[in-house]
Symmetry: C2
Subunit: 114 residues, 2 copies
């Protein structure tokens, strides 16, 4: 299906590419707890303000966070908790993967210098 390819291109361009940076993932997990404005997020994550602003822009353009101005501050909200659900699933995948690798390392060790 050319339709599937198109849908997946959009999935990548609009969502997955938003997860293609560790700082952005960290931001999403941070915003899961409560909304932050840029300065708060900047100091909470110990990242330069322009860096935070740039990443937030990327997440906003992809519809993964929502911004709301309150006076001089702009607060950012996680727009869809399912993003966190997805990330948690991927963390579970990672955990399994690490466990498998560990098991392999173990069996390799068993076979070491026999």
């Amino acid at each position: 299906m050319t339709t599937l390819r198109a849908e997946i291109n959009q999935l990548h361009a609009q969502v997955c590419s938003g997860l293609a940076d560790p700082n952005r993932i960290l931001m999403l997990y941070t915003l899961k707890e409560r909304p932050y404005n840029v300065t708060e997020l900047s100091s909470a994550l110990d990242l330069p303000q322009p860096t935070v602003s740039r990443h937030l822009k990327i997440l906003r353009e992809r519809g993964m966070v929502i911004s709301k101005r309150e006076g001089q501050a702009v607060y950012y909200f996680l727009s869809d908790a399912r993003v966190i659900e997805a990330l948690d699933l991927l963390r579970a995948v990672l955990a399994s993967s690490l466990q498998s690798q560990g098991a392999l390392a173990q069996s390799a060790q068993d076979n070491e210098s026999p």
Copy 2:
């Protein structure tokens, strides 16, 4: 927590970065149905064989697919169905996002040349 940051760095490096290319996402969805060898996948997705091989290497290094040699062919298997679950969640996020945008476009149209 520096621990959270470390874990998320690993999550990104090992899993999320594997999803940072539309062809790889397409490959994962394809392998969800059944195992494919490189040639089959290459022709099924209409991608050059070296391209497919390279992407598969990336997915394999991240533990997202498993390879098994059968004669001259190397078959690739999806290693963890939760990757697909996560992608489906992200597709749902995308769908909601598009719907919101659509609603916004609609209300913008309502306010058009009043």
